[in-house]
């Protein structure tokens, strides 16, 4: 029986597509008539052109993925072009004619949009099957596993007060407005009214209040408590408004907390005592665009669209997330059509291969994850800036990008911040100059005294072990190239590829920088959030008791500490950027670490199934934005 219904559905869809097409044709004839009118309108050529271009852009954005409509659009465009030419030819035209053309165009556009949506509806509900590598457990705020893509999947079911837009900037979401007082201690917001939980209960500011209290009171497994550090109180000022009161000034609270914290329903969570062990069944009640309806441990998640989503029903009705053991499994599956998208960056060598395969497409964009060299800057000889600078100069970043990433990475800025980031300091240009590096070392007295090709320091050869984690093969290859490059400046290194736990334990004992370091040189990398929020930079470079929680290299500088202290209390965006620019300069000069590159984000998807993926700068495509209709995106 199942096959019959599906073939029926197909024929119905075909019929509807035909209607859509004829409607598109109608739109075309409308455009033609507009063209005729445009012929008469020669006088406002320039204006018409500009308007036409805008219309074109909007139309093409609306039409992607639908060939029939696309050809219709192409025709429409051709017609428009013709109109343009004729308009140019006819020197005299009235403004009304132009307006008529415009309105005709708008009508055509709207009809095309409708046709497309109808066709989508005709093709049945869109189901997207996505691959992830590694289980993410039950996706509630206390049990999801990884920051990526675990948090991203979590946030399909929940919303936060703010939401990142495509540029990575927080925009009001559940909140209608967000305002902050001058000394950065009070963040007030009003909320969108009429939002309901999946179970139909209304969302109010009391839920937000509850969520904040809950996270703060149930420290244990939740990172959200840390986002809320410094929150003294949430003052509820109405059913739909409230104010966060902070103990000390805190810039960037929007990004760090408001756009991060899922709001949980008070009526469900009130009775939950041990959230990480509580059995919610497979489902979680949120306000998000999706409801998790099925979870098979280690295998799959099935999400259903929430048709009543406050920003509009999602474009994808069903999302199945399938767990794979590793990249290779996921890649095999997208090749065989078992999945439609991989929610994980694909390795560089796969980009051209997968792109070449129809109907697979690649979404490319900048990402904020990093590959870098760490060294123990508190220890000889790395405590010497000259040595660190020499290492920096010796790294041929472009070679690494080309060889290991086959070009699918961005050369690292010596000042840490990604060039696509809004607080990037454009004067940060990486320099590859081994000769200069050698000269620097010679000048600093690190010479090869015994002629074995290895320089000495304090009577010992400059010979070190580069520790890296074996499972990350790209990083391992970078380490291998690093060995080559350092050899060129007389520093001998060897790669020790160890198990991840061992590597972490050496570089970051007990995940606590106060425990010191057990390595000379290490390959390291931070995940995207560390860079996405530039206000976290102090964590990386402030001296250790000062707040350098992530200062794994033990770097310390008085000026950096001062800037670190100033940054979070600086009240203006411009002021903060200025501080950040200065910090980048210091980093590039003193090199607490050597940033090598930022791997580009590349996501493969099956364009015949769904192609409206939204690439959030630095974060990739895995977010609710990708699954909402364009009109609902911020």
């Amino acid at each position: 029986g199942g096959e019959d219904t599906s073939s029926e559905e197909v024929s119905a869809a075909q019929a509807q597509a035909a209607t859509a097409q004829s409607e598109a044709a109608a739109a075309q004839s409308e455009a033609e008539s507009a063209q005729a009118e445009a012929e008469a309108a020669a006088s406002a050529l320039a204006q018409a052109q500009a308007d036409l271009e805008a219309a074109q852009a909007a139309a093409s954005a609306a039409m992607e993925g639908d060939e029939a409509s696309q050809s219709a659009l192409a025709d429409a465009q051709a017609a428009l072009e013709e109109a343009e030419q004729r308009a140019a030819a006819t020197a005299e035209a009235s403004e009304e004619a132009v307006a008529a053309a415009e309105s005709a165009l708008a009508e055509a556009e709207q009809m095309l949009d409708e046709a497309m949506m109808e066709q989508e509806a005709a093709a049945g509900p869109v189901t997207v099957r996505a691959a992830i590598t590694g289980d993410e457990a039950t996706l509630n705020p206390y049990t999801y596993i990884s920051g990526f893509p675990g948090w991203n999947l979590l946030m399909l079911q929940y919303d936060s007060l703010m939401q990142l837009d495509a540029a990575g900037i927080p925009q009001p979401w559940l909140a209608d407005t967000v305002s902050v007082n001058a000394d950065l201690t009070e963040y007030s917001f009003t909320m969108v009214e009429g939002v309901t939980w999946h179970d139909g209960q209304p969302l109010t500011a009391h839920d937000v209040d509850f969520s904040v209290d809950y996270y703060i009171n149930n420290v244990e497994a939740s990172r959200f408590a840390r986002d809320l550090r410094g929150v003294e109180d949430l003052v509820v000022t109405g059913d739909y408004s409230a104010t966060f009161v902070l103990g000390s000034p805190k810039a960037g609270f929007e990004l760090a907390a408001l756009a991060d914290i899922p709001i949980i329903p008070r009526h469900v969570w009130e009775g939950v005592e041990v959230p990480s062990e509580h059995d919610f069944g497979a489902t979680n009640i949120g306000t998000g665009p999706y409801k998790l309806v099925e979870y098979v441990e280690g295998q799959s998640y099935r999400f259903e669209a929430n048709p009543d989503y406050f920003r509009g029903a999602p474009a994808v009705e069903e999302l199945v997330v399938i767990v794979f053991a590793d990249d290779a499994g996921a890649q095999a599956a997208i090749r065989t059509g078992e999945v439609d998208v991989i929610f994980e960056r694909i390795p560089p060598e796969q980009i051209p291969l997968l792109d070449a395969q129809d109907p697979l497409d690649i979404a490319l964009g900048p990402e904020f994850t990093t590959q870098m060299i760490n060294y123990d800057a508190s220890k000889r000889p790395f405590d010497d800036v000259a040595v660190r600078q020499a290492i920096n100069l010796a790294m041929d970043r472009q070679d690494i990008v080309d060889t290991v990433f086959l070009g699918a990475a961005t050369v690292g800025s010596p000042g840490w911040i990604h060039p696509e980031h809004r607080s990037y300091n454009p004067s940060m240009i990486p320099v590859y100059d081994p000769a200069a590096a050698n000269a620097l070392l010679d000048a600093a007295g690190y010479v090869d005294g015994d002629g074995d090709g290895v320089r000495e320091f304090d009577g010992q050869p400059m010979s070190f072990e580069i520790i890296t984690n074996a499972p990350d093969s790209l990083r391992l290859r970078i380490a291998e190239l690093t060995v080559e490059m350092l050899a060129a400046i007389g520093i001998e290194t060897s790669v020790a590829a160890v198990e991840t736990g061992t590597w972490e334990q050496a570089v970051w004992p007990e995940f606590n920088v106060n425990n010191g370091r057990n390595y000379d040189i290490a390959m390291w990398g931070w995940s995207a959030p560390v860079q996405a929020d530039p206000l976290r930079l102090p964590q990386l470079v402030a001296s250790i008791p000062m707040g350098g929680f992530l200062n794994l290299t033990g770097y310390a500088s008085a000026e950096m500490d001062a800037l670190s202290a100033a940054l979070p209390v600086e009240s203006t965006e411009a002021g903060r950027i200025a501080i950040l620019l200065r910090m980048q300069e210091i980093i590039a000069e003193e090199l607490p670490f050597v940033l090598l590159l930022y791997p580009d984000g590349a996501y493969v998807y099956d364009s015949s199934v769904y192609s409206d993926w939204e690439f959030i700068a630095g974060q990739g495509i895995v977010s609710k934005l990708s699954l909402l209709p364009p009109s609902a995106r911020p």
Binding site: R129, G134, D135, A137, T138, Y142, T143, I145, S146, G147, V219, E220, A221, S222, R223, A225, R226, S276, E277, E294, V296, E297, G298, Q299, S300, Y301, R302, V320, I322, V323, F324, A325, D326, A328, G329, A332, A333, R335, T336, E338, P471, E499, T500, G501, T502, E504, Q505, W508, E510, F511, N512, V513, S527, P529, Q539, F549, L550
Partner: protein, 324 residues
């Protein structure tokens, strides 16, 4: 090989169990690395000392090792292994979710390899020295030398990716909503490649044992006695050779059940098959102590049960091991 179950043997089993359980407890803790990142999530570096202490206390890692050890024994007896560090799920549930799949593929592959190994081994021994024997023997030795993961990957590459005949991963099509026969077929089609891989790898062992055992039996005096009575080849084969040959094969098979369990780690990883082997691999990579402990225990139990079964089965086959 004569096996007999008695008190001393049971005591020895007991000792082995205690040592193995102890090691199961110690091994995870001997591994460098820290489960904190699993429990605390991504921002582990930002934890304050108090928060750290609270987390460690919640999962019971704050008490001295010997207390944790005693607690582990308690867990074993109560059958409650607590919650996974990684996914915060009850471990017993996780194991129950995974166990059937592992049992399915190991069970099927054991049956396949046992049947294939026994039949081929018997043919080989019966026709000792012929071309058939030579061919089978060299084939089996070659198969024995195949790297398991390589075989699995090649099968995926050929049958799933190139030809698209079979799914490359998982035990069922995720969220397919299939039911009834379609669902059964779904399970079967997903199990084919892993089972084939495991079977191919396990067959030579059975084959060799069978061939060896049968050759030995064929050389026994009582086979000559049977022939002297006028028994035909069929009667000799099925009446006299079969049962005497099967005894050592049963032992080998029983031991193999244990190994088969262990062997699933690689195969389940290659095929993303949601069995215990993959659970172990994930738990090990993530230092998920309680899951490791529980899963190791299942593995240990599997080996022991298989051994015990062999000991219990043996007297049924060989009356000499029954008490006289």
């Amino acid at each position: 090989m004569r096996r007999r179950l008695d008190v001393r043997r049971l005591t020895q089993y007991g000792v082995v169990v205690v040592v193995a359980v102890t090691l199961n407890f110690l091994l995870p803790r001997l591994m460098p690395g820290n489960p904190l990142v699993l429990i605390a999530g991504v921002d582990v570096g930002l934890l304050s000392p108090d928060e750290r202490a609270e987390i460690v206390a919640r999962v019971g890692l704050d008490v001295p090792l010997w207390k944790q050890y005693l607690r582990y024994w308690g867990d074993i007896f109560t059958g409650d292994f607590g919650y996974s560090f990684r996914s915060s799920r009850p471990i017993v549930d996780m194991i129950w979710d995974r166990l059937p799949w592992t049992l399915l593929i190991t069970g099927l592959s054991l049956i396949v390899s046992a049947v294939a190994g026994v039949i081929l081994g018997a043919i080989s021994a019966w026709r000792r020295g012929t071309k058939t024997d030579l061919g089978m023997l060299s084939g089996m030795i070659s198969i024995e030398s195949l790297p398991s993961f390589w075989l699995g990957m090649l099968l995926i590459s050929i049958f799933a990716v190139q030809w698209g005949l079979l799914p490359s991963s998982h035990a069922v099509t995720p969220a397919s909503g299939l039911a009834g026969w379609a669902h059964m077929w779904d399970i079967v089609s997903h199990a084919i490649l892993p089972v084939v891989t495991l079977s191919i790898l396990a067959t030579p062992g059975v084959y060799m044992t069978m061939r060896y055992s049968m050759l030995e039996t064929l050389g026994e005096d009582y086979i000559r006695t049977a022939r002297a009575k006028g028994a035909g080849e069929r009667r000799v084969l099925f009446g006299h050779v079969a049962r005497n040959t099967i005894a050592p094969v049963v032992t080998v098979l029983a031991l193999r059940i244990g190994f088969a369990f262990g062997g699933t780690v690689i195969v389940e990883t290659v095929f993303t098959y949601p069995g215990l082997g993959r659970l172990v691999f994930e738990a090990v990579s993530g230092r998920d102590y309680p899951v490791m402990q529980a899963a190791f225990l299942v593995f240990t139990a599997a080996v022991l049960v298989a051994n015990l079964a062999a000991d219990l089965l043996y007297p049924l086959i060989d009356p000499r091991t029954r008490t006289s």
